[in-house]
Symmetry: D2
Subunit: 331 residues, 4 copies
């Protein structure tokens, strides 16, 4: 059960709401003696934060994490690592008019049915703010992975625009996190115009993992592709997952499929081969449109802010699988 | 952990190899007093079985399940339900020449690396034969779901051919399990010609769940969409998952997305709304091509045989979520 | 795994250290709509707190819980409930001389070996302060149990003194939590004299559950007696568990055993019968003796302070089993 | 949940009834490349079997295990290991008269209440026959432990008779499995006379683990003592657990307790120290008394037959903890 926990040996428990005290995460199964400091979390949190550019939400969230357990004299102790990020810019009043008006396409409706009540203040647990817990967990997971392993997400598709080149150095140079220098500008332009219209747009994120450990994942359940799909679809904005040749395999002949190992996306029989892992996640357009969107409290395109969340979930799955492999793998 | 188990309250443990004694499943968390007999499994097993038509593998597997535990006087007892299906047509000799020759695009390679040995006899645990366990589990899960809930899978895309109509009555009338009477013939023709060429082809399966229970799934982890993605990607042939508008959301504006609730695929905020659930799974072309394919021991298009497996996994996830909802939901 | 979590459907994750920021707990699987306020925790925390009487530790811990997630407008929301209790009286300096001196009979030694470091400041996670998390969890669990269910712990044995009467009204009238008015005084006297000697003493706690729900627990693993034993032995001070006639069954004939259902302790075949549940926990003497004990920073007899912790763990197990029974039991 | 499974990384799932097809176990998380053959199970099964001597049940169970999955060419493959033991001497007719007559002190009553039906044929899942699954699992677990680790159970107390010496060589020389050569005879005599009277008797088993690995268990939940208590109390006949000085700590002063590390039972702060682990389990007298007992279908003292079951559960817990330690421990 434990529907707010994820992972097997490395396990995160996420808690907190968008408009209460704050959000946090407890990480169990963190090996002892890892160096860990508040500063380690800041870059990833900064990348997830709203208000990074003119095309994202104007809310300013000062995400100051506090490590409240599991670290002593700068290193993890083997005890659970607990990290809190307090809410500052809550503005519950902004949501008071929504108390009796569920928003179409939002989680409010199903949560009200399931739990017999509704937290009208910006989505409660379904708020994007919950993803802070994932980002924090991803930072710790990253310390378990080999230094050579590099996880990079980028905006592959936004609307009709699709990146054709993959230049990692380009990603953080533009607010869309597009790795194609030719497409970054048009993507930004598209999103800016949609913001003016009070509309939003979806996209596709690609995650690339260079130098992943081999032998991660299990052959039946717990296939690496299944764990990644579970992790990625656990993020609210994601509507699809495909690895390697993905949905293109539908139209592919076997002779072509097996001829190019990149079609396997670094995963064979559910287990990582050690080659580059590559998968895509479909991102839906945000449901906050019209006046709400124009007021600037929501992102017209959530793609760039979901990227660090998916990177974090990817790192978390890989680190968890690596710990399992230590338990059961050949020495 | 338990990488051969799936589910939380309703939990299946799959075991067995394609070329040993047989395959089986133990189901824990099965409510008592459900009627259950061997005959209940036969239709679903028959739909999964190879040799159903000229376009599937010529192997004949007489899948005779035996309920060896958990049923007394025709009803489940609350004890674990264990079901075995013995192997009959093993022909290990057919695989002897593969002892030292891992097959490209097969799980053999990663399993050998992970476990320090290789079962050359047709894939061992990675064989499609393991999916018998899923089909058996799906039959039991189906007894937990409300009678009105109907889970239907069909071949939406095979190669370049895409079904345009959805006529449930048509599905079992053609060997492709295509719900579009106009496309079934061409799909069969395509697969037959590929078989002659010694090639294979992928496709897309759509799963439609009519009258699902509402309130299934959790808001953070354990979202219904994430559980379904995990379940579906745990099947070897699947390379992608997308629900509702899926990857089309990438090119969709928010105004269009929220205007039509079918885009949500029956899931909002990770929780079922009670409306029809709809998702797609991308199926890769089988890697057994060339002489092996021509010999007829493998399917040139695995799509029709994966359909009952995905239906079973879908039913299993829904039943498991329904039991969770009984534990925690509003009365 | 998740070695800092306990429970299946209702699940607590404990975190925090005795000398850092504080301790806390995240509770997952809490049904929605339960009334919950900070005041609900205060009585149980007060009973666990040191400094309640002349015979307990002189440390004063102002345990002020803060509900930081999962409660909205006075009721649980179905989201994880997170509760923090900050440390105030840390006095790390008191422990500085212990930095290089592991204490005999303390957890320091094994933790240092396991994790490659040692938190010399009062036991870290092994401190009794971690039990605050259990007490908090027990309060929430109590709201899930039927109102008629009453969980009462008392000091049955301290040293050579054994209570002969069980008067529930007496328990909170004496600092030993002894239910026998004749023995309470001698027990207090014994502990006071040991304190002066710089020594400590063990005891036996009995837990009595009146009007428990029937049908809790499972027949194979997850027997109610096994879950209770696991819960009780997860508390540092406990060295033994016995239910019903317990270790006296060793000398008992079957004819006598079956003649009196109180020998079964309210559990038959691993499942609660609905009759009073009764079990005992052996409590070791605290290892802090000599000068340390005389300085008054430690309890010469931990029995009275362990009682609310065992009550909490008992309630937690019962509530978790009750939710499971809702999922799978006969309606 | 999974109330028929036990263990975290190494995980057993038990299934089967005493009077149906048979009993079995599926073991997940078994490392690959362990040598495993049917013969490995026979000694432990023979020790658990009824009919070993004049003082145990006259039923003869030919327990012939069959490894039906997870072993290839004499070694484990990393896939789940499934083992079946068919029932032979079922004699359901013997139980037909019990169809409407629940037996006092048996699990029948609570199972009927919980599941809405009753398997009158000898206890169903609650039969001692289910413990075959545990014994099988223990054999596999033993292969994961270091060769020097030795797990020995013996009859410490039967009725008023308590062993004073511990001579391991003596244990298998007498049908009581008593390690004290002076007490073995009197114990056998006592049980024989009770059998004639149609009565039964309880006892205490001590488990001694020489040369256990250090660093097993976790500091909060999952303490080694708690895992062992859970494992031991999951066996039907057990009514109590105590490690190290156990219930004697109740009367012990701290100064005496810390003076002798054998009081700690090899476990400190929930973690194994590497010293000899020592714990006791209280065993209740069997409830089958009177005519039933005289007919000889039941054991007048179950102690000797429970010993191999507790040894198996102990080995299983240690092996599971050892795999966890591989995942998270210092290299």
């Amino acid at each position: 059960m434990a529907s707010n926990s994820f992972g097997e040996i490395l396990r995160m428990t996420s808690f907190g709401e968008s408009h209460g005290f704050g959000v946090g995460v407890v990480l169990d199964g963190v090996p002892a003696r890892l160096e860990l400091a508040v500063e380690d979390f800041l870059p990833a949190l900064a990348r997830r934060r709203p208000g990074q550019s003119e095309i994202s939400s104007a809310r300013r969230e000062e995400d100051r994490p506090e490590i409240i357990a599991g670290v002593f004299e700068g290193r993890t102790t083997g005890a659970p690592v607990a990290i809190l990020v307090a809410n500052h810019d809550q503005r519950s009043a902004d949501y008071e008019h929504l108390r009796d008006a569920p928003r179409p396409g939002h989680a409010d409706q199903t949560q009200a049915a399931k739990y017999g009540h509704r937290d009208h203040r910006g989505g409660g647990r379904s708020s994007g703010r919950e993803t802070i817990a994932r980002v924090l967990a991803g930072v710790v997971a990253g310390k378990i992975l080999p230094p050579a392993t590099r996880i990079m997400g980028h905006a592959l598709i936004v609307g009709q625009l699709e990146a054709r080149r993959f230049d990692p150095a380009e990603i953080e140079r533009n607010p869309m996190r597009c790795a194609d220098p030719d497409l970054a500008g048009p993507m930004v332009e598209l999103v800016r115009s949609l913001k003016e219209e009070g509309d939003s747009i979806g996209g596709v994120i690609e995650i690339v993992v260079e130098n992943p450990p081999a032998n991660l994942g299990d052959p039946t359940f717990g296939k690496l592709k299944a764990r990644l799909a579970d992790a990625v679809l656990s993020v609210g904005a994601v509507t699809g997952f495909a690895y390697g040749a993905g949905f293109e395999t539908a139209t592919m002949r076997g002779s072509r499929y097996v001829a190019d190992s990149s079609h396997f996306g670094g995963i064979l029989g559910g287990i990582s081969t050690g080659e580059t892992i590559r998968f895509r996640a479909a991102i839906k357009p945000t449901s906050s449109i019209g006046d709400l969107a124009r007021k600037g409290r929501h992102d017209p395109c959530i793609v760039p802010r979901v990227i660090p969340v998916l990177e974090a979930m990817t790192g978390f799955v890989l680190a968890d699988c690596l710990l399992m492999q230590r338990a059961l793998g050949q020495p």
